[in-house]
C-alpha cells in the first residue's frame, strides 16, 4: 500500500526530543509499571488455571470428555489450533514481510506483534497434542531410531504439520529474540536495581552495540526476514493441507492454501489491533503508536478481509462448477442450511460484511469502532474454521453416517482457557520486556518528521 499520501497526514513518532528521552519514555512501563496490568493479570491467571485443569482432565480421562464423535472426529481442538496459528501469522508478517518492504510503520508495533505470535504459537502447539487419543505418544510423529524400527509416515500432512509448527515457533522466537537483544542491553544499562541489571544483562548476551555486533545483527536480521517470509506463507499453507489433502467433501480443495494464509493474516492483524488499541490507551503510547499505525493496520485488515471474502465466493463456485455432488451438497446445502448454518452466516457477517466498513476513513480512525471490528473479525475467523472442520465432517459421503455435534463444557474451558493463557503471557511480556523496538525507533527518529503535539 502506498505511504506517499500518508506522510503528510500522520507521523509515526510524535514529540520525542532526543534519544535519552525516547529511551526513558519507552522503558518507563518496565520500571514503573501501570497498576492496571497487575489487576488484569489476576483473571488471566485464573483463566489459565482453568485451561491447565481442563487439559489435565482430558489427559487423564480421555478425549471422550469433548463433544467429538464419529464422523466429527475433529472439532474444537483443531478449530482452536488453526485459529491460534492463524493469529500467529501477523507477527512474522509484520516483522519480516513489512521489513523487506521497508515499511517504517512496522517499527513500533513489530515487537508486540512478534510476542503475540509466540504466545499464539504456544497455544496452537498445545492443541494438536491435547487432541491425540494417546497424547503421551506424540513423539511418534517425530523421526527417531525406535526399537520398533518404525518411523513417522511422511505422506501424512500431520507429519508436515509437526515440522511446520515447530519450525515456525523456533524461527519466530529467534527473530523476536535477535531483535530484542539491543533493547535488552538498553534495559540492562537503564535498569534501576542491581538484580534487574543482572537479569536483563544475562538475557542481553553481552550486547553493547559495537559496530561488529550491528554488522552481523543487520545481516542476520535481514536473512531471517528473508527466511521467515516464505515460512509465513508455507506454515498456514501446510496447516490448510491438513484438510486439503483429505478426500472429505468440504476439505478437498486446492484454494485452501492461499485462502488460509489470507485468513491467517486477517485474523492476526485483528488480534494486533485488539491488543494495541487498549494498550496504547492504557500506557499512553499515542506518541509512539500513532494513528498512522492504526490506520495502516486497518487497511491491511480491509485488504486481507477482501481476499477472504473472495475465497468465500470462490469455494461454493468451484463446488458447483466441479459438479461433484458431495462438494455441492456441503457448499450449497450443508453449510448455508445445515445444522450449523447460523455459525456459517455469522462467519459471513463478521468476515465479509463487517471489514468492508473500513473503506470509510473515519471508521479506520475510530478506535472504539476498530476494536469492535477486530473482535468481530476474530470471532468470525474462529467460526470460519469451525464451519470448515465440523460441518464438512457432519455431512460426509454416506448419508447414513451423518450426525450431529455438540461441544461440552470442557471444550469451552479449553477455548476460553487458551485465550486467558494467551492474555496472561502477553501481560507478562508487556510488564517485563521492552515491547517497543527502541533501537529501531531511534533510527526511525532520524528518518521521520517528528511532530510535537499528540493526536487523540
Amino acid at each position: 500500500m502506498s505511504m506517499a499520501g500518508q506522510h503528510a497526514a500522520d507521523p509515526l513518532l510524535i514529540g520525542t526530543s532526543d534519544d535519552a528521552a525516547l529511551t526513558q519514555r519507552v522503558l518507563r512501563p518496565l520500571w514503573s509499571p501501570h497498576p492496571a496490568l497487575g489487576w488484569l493479570m489476576i483473571p488471566a491467571a485464573l483463566g489459565s488455571l482453568v485451561f491447565i485443569t481442563a487439559l489435565c482432565y482430558t489427559f487423564v480421562t480421555g478425549i471422550g470428555v469433548w463433544g467429538n464423535n464419529i464422523p466429527v472426529g475433529w472439532a474444537f481442538a483443531i478449530t482452536n489450533f488453526v485459529w491460534w496459528i492463524g493469529i500467529g501469522h501477523a507477527g512474522t508478517f509484520i516483522s519480516a514481510i513489512l521489513y523487506l518492504l521497508q515499511q517504517e510503520w512496522r517499527t513500533s508495533i513489530n515487537r508486540i506483534a512478534e510476542a503475540m505470535t509466540l504466545f499464539a504459537v504456544v497455544n496452537a502447539g498445545l492443541f494438536p497434542i491435547a487432541h491425540l487419543g494417546r497424547p503421551w505418544f506424540f513423539y511418534w510423529l517425530a523421526p527417531y531410531p525406535a526399537t520398533m524400527e518404525l518411523w513417522p509416515q511422511f505422506r501424512s500432512s500431520l507429519t508436515w504439520d509437526v515440522a511446520a509448527i515447530s519450525t515456525y515457533g523456533t524461527v519466530s522466537f529467534l527473530f523476536w529474540y535477535l531483535g530484542l537483544l539491543p533493547d535488552l542491553a538498553t534495559a540492562r544499562d537503564t535498569a534501576p536495581t542491581r538484580l534487574r541489571r543482572r537479569l536483563y544483562g544475562l538475557c542481553a548476551l553481552g550486547w553493547r552495540g559495537a559496530a561488529s555486533h550491528w554488522r552481523s545483527y543487520r545481516i542476520a536480521y535481514l536473512l531471517l526476514a528473508g527466511l521467515a517470509t516464505p515460512l509465513v506463507v508455507s506454515v498456514h499453507s501446510i496447516v490448510s493441507l491438513d484438510f486439503a489433502v483429505a478426500k472429505q467433501p468440504g476439505w478437498h480443495s486446492t484454494i485452501f492454501p492461499p485462502y488460509f494464509v489470507a485468513g491467517a493474516i486477517f485474523s492476526g492483524f485483528a488480534m494486533v489491533l485488539t491488543l494495541v488499541i487498549p494498550l496504547r490507551a492504557l500506557l499512553r503510547l499515542q506518541d509512539v503508536i500513532t494513528m498512522r499505525h492504526i490506520d495502516n493496520m486497518a487497511k491491511v485488515l480491509l485488504a486481507t478481509g477482501s481476499i477472504v471474502a473472495y475465497s468465500y465466493l470462490l469455494e461454493p463456485f468451484t463446488a458447483w462448477y466441479s459438479g461433484d455432488p458431495y462438494e455441492r451438497y456441503i457448499q450449497l446445502v450443508g453449510r448455508p442450511a445445515g445444522p450449523f448454518a447460523w455459525v456459517f452466516w455469522l462467519t459471513i457477517v463478521c468476515n465479509v460484511l463487517v471489514p468492508q466498513v473500513l473503506w470509510l476513513r473515519s471508521l479506520r480512525r475510530n478506535l472504539v469502532a476498530l476494536l469492535i471490528i477486530s473482535l468481530l473479525v476474530q470471532l468470525g475467523m474462529w467460526s470460519e474454521r469451525f464451519v470448515i472442520v465440523v460441518t464438512s465432517l457432519q455431512r460426509g459421503a454416506l448419508p447414513s453416517s451423518w450426525s450431529s455435534y455438540s461441544p461440552t463444557l470442557i471444550d469451552a474451558c479449553l477455548l476460553f482457557g487458551s485465550m486467558s493463557l494467551f492474555l496472561f503471557l502477553f501481560l507478562v511480556f508487556v510488564r517485563f520486556v521492552p515491547f517497543i523496538a527502541l533501537s529501531e525507533l531511534k533510527l526511525l527518529r532520524r528518518k521521520e518528521p517528528v511532530e510535537t503535539q499528540v493526536s487523540p
Binding site: 480421562t61 464419529i70 487419543g133 511418534w140 472429505q248 455432488p325 459421503a397 454416506l398 453416517s401 450426525s403
Partner: protein
C-alpha cells in the same frame, strides 16, 4: 464384572492378573471343587490388568522400547494346570456342539471355548433349525452367561437355603394328591423335562403343570388354538421356503423371528439369488402394520393395521374364488367371505391372487402369531385351496409339551385359593403375563411361591423362595426343533453361581436330587429302545455320537395328515369391522424379545433392525400420524387405551401403518438387573386376555416434554448418490448386459500391486440381506467390541465395526427400504492410510487394510478421511471400564485401549490362524478355509469371503458379475468389499 469377580476371590491372593489368558483356568481353587466334569469357570478377567498396563497411560514411559513394561508386571505369573484336561490344548480353542432353546424349541449351536471359557456361539450346520446360522439372541447368550447381575444364591424368605432340602420340604408338606401344587413353566420341547413333569404328575395326580409363553408361538398361541379346533390336536406347521415361489406374509416376520426363522431365511434366500433374468426367483408379498425384517425385502409391502388382516385374507380368498376360480375348501368359508367384502388395496390383492393361483403348490401364505385363530384358519384354507399344504407346508406333531392349562386358568385357581405351592420354572411370568391377569397382584395368593430364575427379576421379587437357574451353557438338557429333531444341550462350563437346571428341580421334588446329566442320559437311554447292558452300551454309543454332532441327524418326526373340520370355524370369534382411530399394536422386541434379554448390553446397544434405536423402546407412528398429532421425533405422547395408558417417546417410522401405533414389549423392567433398569416403558399392562397383542386407543395426547432417543442413523435418504444399486429381475439381462456400474476413471496413483499369496475380498449380496443384524452381534462377539452405553450412543460413538445402513426410497408413507451392511471396505487405495502419521493403518500383502492399535496415537484423521465412516474410536477406556464382561472376550483379538482407532479387520485373526495352521500342518491354504464371523452367522448367506485371485473362488466369480458394484466407486478408493445390486422381483402390474 471384573471388579465384582475380583471381590469374590480377593482373599486368596491368587494370581488374578496374569497376562496369559489361558491361565485363568488355573484359578480352579477359587471355585469350591467337587466332582466336576468340566474345569470350573475362570473367574478372572483375562488380560484386563496387564492390558491396562501395556496400553494404558503408564506405557508412555515404556513406549520407546516398543515393549511391554516388564517392571510393571513383575507379579506376572504363568499358572499351568495341575492336571491338564485331555481335550484341552492351551492356546487352541475347542468347539462343542450343544443346543439353546427359545420358546421351548431347540436350536443347535456350536460354542467356541477357550480353556473352559465359552466365548462365541455359532450355528450348528447339522441342526435343521440352524443350518449353521445363528440369530442375535442365541449369540448374545454367551454374554448373558457371564452377566454379573445373575442371581447368586438360593433363598427362602430372605435367608439363604439349601434348595434341594427345601424342595423335599415342599414335597413332604404337599400331601399325597398335591392338589395345591402348581408348576408354572415356559413352553418346553425337552424330552427330559417332559419326563420329569410326567413324574411329578404321577407322584401328585392333583398337581397341574401350567405353561406360559409370552411369545405365543405355535401351540401356545393363536395358531395352536386354530389347529386344535380345526384338526383336533396340536400341530406345528413346517414351511419350506425353498420351494415357495410366491410368499404372502400377513402380519408375520417368518425370516427374522420365531423358532425356525433361520431355516426360513435360508430357504427364502435360496430362491432370492436370481442373477440372470431366466433364474427362478420368489416374490414376497407382505402385509403388516409396522416394518419388520421380512417386510424390508418384500417386493410388495402393504402397510395395514393388524386388525385389517382378517379382512385382507377374506378379500384375497374372494379374489381367488371369483377372479382365479379357485375352489373354496368349505361353504362356511365362502359364507364368511361373502359376508365380508372389502374394497381396500384391490391391486395388491389382485396381483397376489394372480401369482398364488398361477403357482399352485408353490405358494405360501403365512399368518403371524399375533393374529386371531380365525386368521390362521383362513390362512390354512387358502393354502389348502391352493394345494400348498403338502407341497410347501407340512404339518407335524407339535414337539412342545402339552400342559394342563395356561395363566388364565391359573389366575382363576389363585383367586379360588386353590394354589398352595406355586413352583415357577423361569420365564419371569410376573413381567410377561397379560395385563389383566395381574399376576403380580394375584401371585401372593399362593402360600408358597418358588421361582427358578437367572435373575432376581420381577417374579423373583414376589416369590418367597428363589433358586438361581443354571444358564443354558452351564447345564445339561435336551430339546426338539420344530420338525421334532432332537438335540442335546451340554454344559460348556461349571455353573458360575451354582445354578440349577429346571429338570433338577423337578427331580428333587419327586425324589433324591439328581444331576441333570444323569436325567438326560436316562431319558435318552429310555428313548433308545431296549434294556440291558448291551443295549445300554448301544445307547451310550448313540448318545456319544449325538453329543459329538450335537443333534440326532435325520430323525425328524413324521408328518401327520390333516383333515380340517371346518365346522370349527363357527367357534372362532370374528373380529368386528375395524373402526377408525388409532390401534396400539404390541410386539415382541427384536432385541430383548419378551424382556428376557433386557439385561444384555450387546442387545441393548444393538441398533433395532428397523428403527436403529438403541437402549430404549418407543412408539412407532407413521409420518402421516405425526403430522396429524403434530409431534416430532422423540416427543412424548400419552397413549390412552381401554386397558390403560402409556407415555412413550415417538419415533416417526416410514412405512408404518397410518392408524397403528406400535410399541415393543420387554422394556421398563423393574427387576434387580442393573443394565435393564430405567430403560424404556413397560407395555405389558396394556395387553389383555381378549386381545393379547393390541389395545384400542381412546386418545393420543402429545406431552410438552421430549425424550432423547439413542438412534444410530439419522438420515434415511440416499441423496441420489451411488451408494446402493437396484435392479429388477426383468431388468437384468445377462450376459449381454454391461455392468451396472461403469469402471472407475483414471487415477494418478499407480494401480495397486498385489503381493504373493491370496488376496482377500468380500462380496455382499444386498438382494438377500434382511437386516436381521445377526452379523453385527457376531462381529461384536468375535472382535471384543465394547459396549459404550446410551450416553455415548447419543453422541454417536457406538463401536460396532459392522453396521447395517437402512435407506428409504419413494414417499415416506409407503417407502421402499434399502439395506446395506457396511463395514471397512478395505480399499486398495485406502484414504485412511496415507493420512496416518504413524503407520498405524497400513496395507498388508494380502490386501487387508490393517489397523495396528498399538501404533495408533489417535489423531482420528483416518476416520475423517474415510468415505464410509466405518472407523470407530475409543473415546474412553471402554474396554476396561464399561465392557462389562472380560470373560467373554476373544483372546485372539487385542482388547483396544483408550485413544486408539479400530475397525473391521476382515477377521484377520481367523485369517492368520488359518494360515499358521496350514503351515504347521503342511496342508495348502484353501481359500474357503477362512470364514469371517459375519459370514459364518448370516442366515441368508449374503456374505461371501475368499481369495479374489483364485478363479475358482466364489468371491472372484461374484466380483466379476455385472451386478457387482463398489459403494462410492467415484471416491476412487477401490474398495475390496463389493456388493451385488439389490435384485427385486415385482409383479409387472404393480410397478
Amino acid at each position: 464384572m471384573s471388579a465384582h469377580l475380583h471381590d469374590d476371590h480377593r482373599s486368596d491372593g491368587a494370581p488374578h492378573r496374569d497376562a496369559l489368558y489361558w491361565r485363568t483356568l488355573a484359578d480352579s481353587f477359587d471355585v469350591p471343587s467337587g466332582t466336576r466334569e468340566f474345569p470350573p469357570a475362570a473367574d478372572t478377567p483375562p488380560n484386563a490388568w496387564s492390558r491396562r498396563q501395556f496400553i494404558g497411560l503408564m506405557s508412555a514411559s515404556m513406549a520407546l522400547a516398543g515393549l511391554s513394561g516388564c517392571r510393571l508386571t513383575s507379579d506376572d505369573h504363568l499358572v499351568p494346570y495341575v492336571t491338564q484336561p485331555v481335550d484341552v490344548i492351551p492356546g487352541r480353542p475347542s468347539h462343542y456342539a450343544t443346543t439353546v432353546t427359545m420358546g421351548g424349541y431347540g436350536t443347535g449351536v456350536v460354542v467356541t471355548s477357550h480353556e473352559g471359557r465359552p466365548t462365541k456361539i455359532d450355528g450348528n450346520p447339522e441342526h435343521p433349525a440352524s443350518l449353521g446360522a445363528c440369530g442375535v439372541f442365541e449369540q448374545a447368550l454367551v454374554l448373558q452367561l457371564y452377566d454379573p447381575d445373575r442371581a447368586q444364591a438360593a433363598r427362602l424368605n430372605g435367608v439363604s437355603c439349601l434348595w434341594h432340602q427345601e424342595m423335599q420340604e415342599v414335597a413332604t408338606h404337599t400331601g399325597t394328591r398335591g392338589d395345591g401344587l402348581r408348576v408354572l413353566m415356559e413352553p418346553t420341547a425337552s424330552p427330559t423335562m417332559a419326563r420329569c413333569c410326567a413324574e411329578v404328575k404321577q407322584r401328585w395326580p392333583g398337581s397341574r403343570i401350567i405353561i406360559h409363553d409370552a411369545a405365543g408361538i405355535g401351540a401356545h398361541g393363536a395358531a395352536g388354538q386354530a389347529w386344535r379346533a380345526l384338526f383336533g390336536h396340536d400341530l406345528v406347521a413346517r414351511y419350506d421356503f425353498s420351494r415357495s415361489l410366491i410368499v404372502v406374509a400377513m402380519d408375520a416376520d417368518p425370516l427374522a423371528s420365531g423358532p425356525s426363522h433361520l431355516a426360513h431365511a435360508r430357504g427364502f434366500a435360496s430362491l432370492r439369488r436370481a442373477r440372470s433374468a431366466g433364474q427362478p426367483m420368489n416374490r414376497l408379498y407382505v402385509a403388516e402394520s409396522s416394518p419388520t425384517c421380512t417386510g424390508s425385502i418384500a417386493d410388495h409391502r402393504l402397510a395395514v393395521s393388524d386388525r385389517d388382516i382378517v379382512d385382507l385374507l377374506l378379500a384375497l380368498l374372494a379374489e381367488l374364488m371369483a377372479g382365479q376360480g379357485v375352489l373354496c375348501p368349505d361353504q362356511r368359508i365362502a359364507a364368511l367371505v361373502a359376508g365380508r367384502t372389502t374394497s381396500a388395496h384391490p391391486s395388491w390383492i389382485r396381483a397376489a391372487a394372480a401369482d398364488l393361483a398361477a403357482n399352485r403348490g408353490a405358494g405360501l401364505i403365512l399368518i403371524g402369531d399375533r393374529q386371531p385363530p380365525l386368521a390362521h384358519a383362513l390362512g390354512h384354507a387358502l393354502n389348502a385351496a391352493l394345494g400348498n399344504v403338502g407341497a410347501t407346508i407340512a404339518y407335524g406333531p407339535s414337539p412342545l409339551m402339552a400342559g394342563d392349562g395356561d395363566l388364565a386358568s391359573l389366575m382363576r385357581e389363585l383367586d379360588r385359593g386353590q394354589v398352595d405351592d406355586l413352583l415357577i420354572l423361569g420365564g419371569n411370568p410376573v413381567l410377561t403375563a397379560l395385563g389383566d391377569i395381574q399376576l403380580g397382584r394375584r401371585i401372593s395368593q399362593a402360600r408358597n411361591r418358588w421361582y427358578l430364575g437367572l435373575y432376581e427379576d420381577e417374579t423373583a421379587q414376589l416369590c418367597n423362595g428363589f433358586i438361581p437357574q443354571a444358564h443354558v451353557l452351564e447345564s445339561w438338557g435336551d430339546a426338539c426343533a420344530c420338525d421334532g429333531t432332537r438335540s442335546i444341550q451340554q454344559p460348556l462350563i461349571d455353573p458360575l453361581h451354582g445354578g440349577i437346571a429346571a429338570c433338577e428341580v423337578l427331580a428333587a421334588l419327586v425324589g433324591p436330587p439328581r444331576l441333570a446329566r444323569d436325567l438326560v442320559r436316562d431319558t435318552w437311554r429310555d428313548a433308545f429302545q431296549g434294556a440291558g447292558s448291551i443295549a445300554d452300551a448301544g445307547a451310550d454309543a448313540h448318545l456319544a455320537e449325538v453329543l459329538r454332532r450335537g443333534v440326532e441327524v435325520g430323525r425328524a418326526s413324521s408328518l401327520v395328515s390333516t383333515a380340517a373340520d371346518w365346522s370349527a370355524l363357527a367357534r372362532f370369534e370374528v373380529p368386528q369391522r375395524s373402526r377408525d382411530g388409532f390401534e396400539l399394536s404390541l410386539k415382541l422386541d427384536a432385541k430383548v424379545h419378551d424382556g428376557r434379554f433386557a439385561n444384555n448390553p450387546w442387545l441393548q446397544e444393538l441398533p433395532d433392525p428397523v428403527t436403529k434405536l438403541t437402549w430404549d423402546n418407543a412408539a412407532l407412528i407413521s409420518p402421516a400420524a405425526a403430522r396429524r398429532l403434530g409431534v416430532a421425533q422423540g416427543a412424548l405422547i400419552e397413549v390412552r387405551c381401554d386397558t390403560g395408558a402409556l407415555t412413550v417417546p415417538v419415533i416417526i417410522q416410514p412405512g408404518q401403518a397410518e392408524w397403528t401405533i406400535s410399541v415393543s414389549l420387554g422394556y421398563g423392567r423393574r427387576g434387580a438387573e442393573r443394565t435393564a433398569a430405567d430403560i424404556g416403558v413397560d407395555a405389558y399392562p396394556l395387553t389383555s386376555i381378549s386381545r393379547p397383542w393390541s389395545a384400542a386407543v381412546i386418545a393420543v395426547t402429545s406431552r410438552p416434554a421430549s425424550h432423547r432417543l439413542a438412534i444410530t442413523q439419522h438420515h434415511w435418504s440416499l441423496e441420489g448418490r451411488p451408494i446402493l444399486l437396484e435392479q429388477t429381475l426383468a431388468g437384468i439381462n445377462l450376459p449381454a448386459d454391461a455392468p451396472l456400474q461403469p469402471p472407475p476413471g483414471p487415477s494418478l496413483r499407480p494401480a495397486p500391486a498385489h503381493g504373493p499369496g491370496p488376496q482377500w475380498a468380500m462380496v455382499i449380496d444386498t438382494s438377500v440381506c434382511i437386516g436381521c443384524s445377526a452379523c453385527v452381534v457376531a462381529c461384536q462377539a468375535e472382535n471384543n467390541i465394547p459396549v459404550v452405553g446410551k450416553e455415548n450412543v447419543l453422541r454417536s460413538r457406538e463401536m460396532h465395526w459392522l453396521r447395517i445402513d437402512r435407506y428409504y426410497r419413494g414417499n415416506e408413507d409407503d417407502p421402499v427400504a434399502l439395506l446395506q451392511p457396511m463395514a471397512c471396505q478395505h480399499c486398495e487405495k485406502a484414504p485412511c492410510e496415507y493420512v496416518c502419521p504413524t503407520y498405524a493403518t497400513t496395507h498388508s500383502q494380502d490386501g487387508l487394510n490393517e489397523m495396528t492399535y498399538n501404533r495408533c496415537v489417535g489423531t482420528r484423521f483416518c476416520s475423517n478421511n474415510c468415505p464410509y465412516k466405518v472407523r470407530r474410536f475409543n473415546w474412553y477406556n471402554f474396554a476396561d471400564g464399561r465392557d462389562p464382561l472380560p470373560l467373554a472376550r476373544n483372546p485372539e483379538v487385542t482388547v483396544r485401549a483408550r485413544g486408539v482407532m479400530e475397525k473391521c479387520t476382515y477377521c484377520v485373526q481367523r485369517i492368520r490362524t488359518t494360515e499358521h495352521r496350514s503351515l504347521v500342518d503342511g496342508v495348502p491354504l484353501r481359500t474357503d478355509a477362512v470364514v469371517t464371523a459375519c459370514q459364518q452367522t448370516c442366515p441368508t448367506q449374503a456374505i461371501t469371503f475368499g481369495d479374489m485371485t483364485d478363479p475358482a473362488s466364489a468371491v472372484a466369480h461374484l466380483r466379476a458379475h455385472p451386478l457387482a458394484y463398489a459403494v462410492l466407486e467415484d471416491s476412487g478408493a477401490q474398495p475390496r468389499t463389493r456388493y451385488l445390486a439389490h435384485v427385486r422381483n415385482p409383479h409387472p402390474e404393480l410397478t
